[in-house]
């Protein structure tokens, strides 16, 4: 469906403070967001991004905005995002909560995502699976980023 509520859980090998810091660090986000080509701060906690995003050969170019709200370090934050491109638009928000899990941090992301335009019209079958995959890629990259920092 083209309005999705996704709950994604991931455990990354770093404490909450470091994870929280990473999640509000434009450089880290640029490196972790799949297909992110630019990610520039436009003001406090607001960013503009250019993304080449999609799955396999079905990639579109999007320009978008992101804003971080409700920061409660190191427990939670909310990320609002919207992007548009040839294949349509994506917008939504993700409420992210961090909890300690041994030496690591468990990240629970409750995302509310809407897609529209062509992707909704022809890609509904794949949209949710694609969103999960992109989110997985993000957390995998974040984990590896934080493990690398550790070393």
């Amino acid at each position: 469906m083209c309005e999705m509520k996704l709950t994604l859980t991931s455990v990354v090998p770093a404490d909450r403070a470091r994870v929280f810091a990473a999640l509000i660090d434009a450089d880290v986000l640029r490196r972790c967001i799949p297909g992110c080509e630019t990610f520039t701060a436009k003001g406090p906690d607001t960013y503009e991004a250019a993304l080449k995003i999609g799955v396999a050969g079905l990639k579109g170019t999007y320009s978008g905005k992101a804003a971080i709200r409700d920061k409660q370090p190191p427990d939670s934050l909310t990320l609002g995002f919207e992007g548009k491109g040839g294949p349509g638009f994506v917008r939504g928000s993700a409420a992210i909560t961090l909890s300690a899990d041994g030496d690591s941090t468990r990240i629970v992301c409750d995302a509310d995502v809407q897609v529209g335009g062509l992707i909704a019209a022809v890609g509904s079958r794949l949209v949710e699976a694609a969103a999960r995959k992109l989110a997985d890629d993000f957390f995998r990259q974040l984990s590896s980023e934080l493990s690398t920092q550790q070393q």
Binding site: M1, C2, E3, K84, R91, Q114, G116, G117, A121, S124
Partner: protein, 784 residues
């Protein structure tokens, strides 16, 4: 049968005369039109269901080599009138429907900008280069929620999502009927939204001659004449300088019975750019921006006596109109109210219709337009009542049929059914279906644990639209017949067939009535420069209304020819006999005059009686006195796969009465095609928007049309009850299949599930819905 003069063509299964060009690939559809200097338009459409439009940057698009123009609503709307709605409903709230979106978009697919280029590929490139800032607004998608206060508004300036509330009521006092009832049977029924999906999408070519100030518009339409009436108000070209051509049109089903923004847009572009402009709709645009059909939800109450006598029907129905009013949008649900009592004597009826705006494409006339909804409702309700009262569903129907001698039959909805023998069609259908054997087969299948069901529907519909007083813009039809000097016959009709075969059927009855060979007749249509007047093709009116205008012309020509023949026989017209193409004056002379001689005399005009004009041509406007009311019975057997919810149609019997049949092969084709639409509607077709107004059935990858393998072998029969309202006695057959079939199939599926206690399923009865129903019932303990 050899074609000789005097051997009747009417009633024969003739091959169609329009087919050779179609089967050779030589027909000209709108996309086949080539003009020197032709430019191509591609339209940028909104991905949002509801949004404010901010900045629109077209500079990059304009810079692409080959791009001639990129225009937005700000560039175009002031020069174009509003898209018209012809339906008059009291107190109708109507939004302004501009050619391109203004400062807001109201549905996914709403046209925002247009790019014009020397090549369609380049125009498409330009679309990608337009940058639009949208500020999304809450979308209204659930019509039942939309009527509640405090919900977001589709059109904030209208102050409400309710376009109108209209009551269709008649007969005796409805409240009294419910007071007298032993029981009130209640049922909620929905008619899902459907996409008409003709295989040819829409398309327009516009060409302007600045010297003459004339505009020619080729458009894939069912209604070239209505367009010629309505477009001048949009584009400023006067009616007598506007030529509208419906070339070969690849199916309509109501989707092309409309005036669309693109028709005005292309006309405007051709004038503005001083070059011919073509726009061809993509399938995705067709799914998003060409009208949808149906989409009614209602709570139905039936007042019944213990013996099954139905005293009245009461309902409040919510009709999802979409975001704009297209040509007939608000009128369609009112048609449902007009025929809600179906074939039955039901003393009181009241239907309150609430038309609601939502952020979706407009609904409008889709095959059957309002009558399939009514027939589905009444035929489902008859089954529900029969079940609840424990009465045989056929007996219940028979109990409420008017007798053949009671026609013309006045219904409590205010119509007068012209003629009918509902018992006859039902009896014949039961014979063809081998009804008793069907019941035995079902019993055996059920005993073996299979889910087997039989469905029946008896229907009546409103055709031959229609008397002008009942139509928004004239319901007459125009025609012209010309006996040429060569004795070839040119027939010109104001109806605009696009697959219905009137080039053949008209030639058949004209040949019989004039006593000429069919091969000597040409039937012209679809070009307002040729067929000067007309009210076009929809509502199964082509042959019944259009054909009647032709009959009037023939009568005039024959009368004139008799006058001329009498002059040549040196007698008076009352002594002249006309038969099989030959004029005689028995008892006066042995001389016989055929058409070649007579036509020569008429046009050479050296020996005409005083006062007789030269030539042998007549034109006529035919005004129907009433609608016609075809009827029939459909019987369906199905088997449901318990595990997958898949429904297989194992037998299909249809008996339709459309009056006398000019060409049984064409009648059969119309019925079969109509039934296929119903198979789609009942089993899988549905237009789906999500809760944000995103269209999820935007391509044929997601909107399922019936395929060859979905179609059962049909057993088709007919009865013939002529209509007294037109000279051909014809009732019309274009929509019958779709009207009779939907409830028959739905009733069969529910009959199959009845042993499980399933009493209702929403349309479409997809495998998942059927499976869910089976699962819920089989999981529950017996008797729960």
């Amino acid at each position: 049968m050899a074609d000789t003069i005097g051997t009747p063509y009417v009633g024969r299964a003739m091959k169609r005369v329009e087919d050779p060009r179609l089967i050779k690939g030589l027909a000209t559809y709108v996309d086949d039109i080539r003009l020197p200097g032709l430019l191509h338009a591609v339209i940028l459409r909104s991905p949002h269901a509801h949004a404010r439009i901010g900045r629109v940057d077209v500079s990059a698009a304009r810079a692409i080599p080959g791009v001639v123009a990129v225009l937005t609503g700000a560039d175009v709307n002031a020069a174009c009138g509003l898209v018209p709605c012809a339906a008059a409903i009291p107190d109708l709230k109507a939004p302004k429907h501009t050619v391109l979106a203004g400062d807001r978009v109201y549905f996914v697919g709403h046209a925002v900008a247009v790019a014009v280029a020397t090549d369609p590929y380049i125009a498409r490139d330009a679309i990608d280069a337009i940058d639009v800032d949208y500020d999304p607004l809450p979308a209204v998608t659930n019509p039942e929620e939309a009527v509640k206060s405090g919900t977001p508004l589709t059109h904030p300036d209208l102050g409400s999502n309710i376009a109108y509330t209209h009551v269709v009521a008649g007969g005796s006092d409805i409240d009294e009927a419910f007071r007298r009832a032993d029981r009130v049977v209640k049922h909620r029924l929905c008619h899902q939204r459907l996409t008409p999906m003709p295989i040819e999408p829409r398309g327009v070519v516009a060409s302007y001659d600045p010297g003459e100030g004339t505009l020619t518009l080729w458009t894939a339409t069912q209604i070239p004449h209505l367009l010629r009436t309505l477009l001048p108000g949009m584009i400023g070209v006067p009616e007598n300088k506007l030529r509208v051509v419906a070339p070969e049109v690849g199916g309509g089903f109501g989707a092309k019975l409309n005036v669309y923004p693109e028709e005005a847009l292309c006309a405007h572009l051709a004038m503005r750019l001083n070059a011919p402009v073509k726009w061809i709709e993509s399938r995705r645009e067709n799914a998003a921006s060409t009208i949808h059909g149906r989409d009614q939800i209602g709570e139905y109450e039936v007042a019944v006596k213990k013996d099954g006598a139905i005293l009245g029907i009461r309902t409040r129905t919510v009709a999802d109109l979409g975001s704009y009013l297209q040509l007939l949008t608000p009128a369609i649900p009112t048609l449902t109210g007009l025929v809600l009592t179906g074939c039955y004597r039901i003393p009181a009826v009241k239907m309150e219709i609430v038309g609601v705006y939502t952020n979706k494409m407009a609904t409008d006339a889709y095959r059957g337009a309002g009558r399939p909804e009514a027939t589905y409702l009444i035929e489902r309700l008859m089954d529900v009542v029969a079940r609840e009262l424990g009465i045989d569903r056929v007996d219940l129907r028979l109990k409420h049929f008017p007798a053949p001698a009671e026609f013309p039959f006045a219904t409590s909805c205010g119509l007068t059914y012209d003629s009918g023998n509902y018992q006859g069609a039902l009896t014949k259908a039961r014979q063809l279906a081998n009804w008793d054997q069907l019941l035995k087969d079902r019993a055996a299948a059920r005993a073996a644990g299979r889910l087997s069901g039989i469905g029946i529907s008896t229907y009546v519909e409103i055709c031959a639209m229609g008397p002008s007083k009942a139509m928004p813009a004239g319901g007459w039809e125009w025609g012209c017949v010309r006996m040429e000097i060569s004795a070839k016959v040119t027939v010109i009709t104001g109806v605009s067939p696009h697959g219905q075969g009137q080039e053949t059927t008209f030639a058949q009855f004209v040949a019989d009535r004039l006593g000429v060979l069919m091969e000597d007749i040409v039937v012209l249509h679809g070009d307002t420069n040729v067929a000067h007047y007309g009210r076009d093709t929809y509502g199964s009116r082509g042959t019944a209304v259009g054909g009647s205008a032709i009959v009037m012309c023939i009568d005039k020509i024959v009368a004139k020819a008799k006058t001329l023949a009498a002059h040549l026989f040196e007698t008076t017209a009352d002594h002249v006999v006309f038969e099989k193409g030959t004029f005689r004056a028995p008892g006066v002379t042995n001389r016989e005059i055929g058409w070649p001689e007579l036509a020569g005399e008429a046009y050479v005009a050296k020996n005409l009686p005083a006062g007789l004009e030269p030539g042998l041509e007549a034109s006529s406007f035919y005004e129907p006195q009433n609608f016609t009311f075809p009827f029939g019975t459909h019987i369906v057997a199905v088997e449901v796969d318990r595990d997958t919810g898949h429904v297989a149609i194992t037998k299909y019997v249809a008996v339709d009465d459309c009056g006398p049949q000019i060409n049984p092969l064409i009648v059969e084709g119309q019925v079969q095609g109509g039934i296929a639409h119903s198979i789609g509607q009942v089993l899988f077709e549905q237009t789906i928007y999500d809760e944000n107004g995103q269209l999820l059935t935007g391509e044929l990858m997601d909107y399922a049309l019936p395929r060859a393998a979905d179609i059962p072998e049909y057993i088709l029969g007919s009865t013939v009850t002529p209509s007294p309202v037109n000279p051909l006695g014809i009732k019309g057959v274009g929509e019958a299949g779709t009207i009779g079939a939907t409830p028959a199939i739905a009733n069969a599926v529910l009959d199959a599930l009845q042993p499980l206690g399933v009493t209702h399923l929403d349309l479409p009865m997809t495998p998942e819905r059927v499976w869910q129903a089976i699962k819920t019932r089989t999981a529950a303990p017996v008797g729960a």
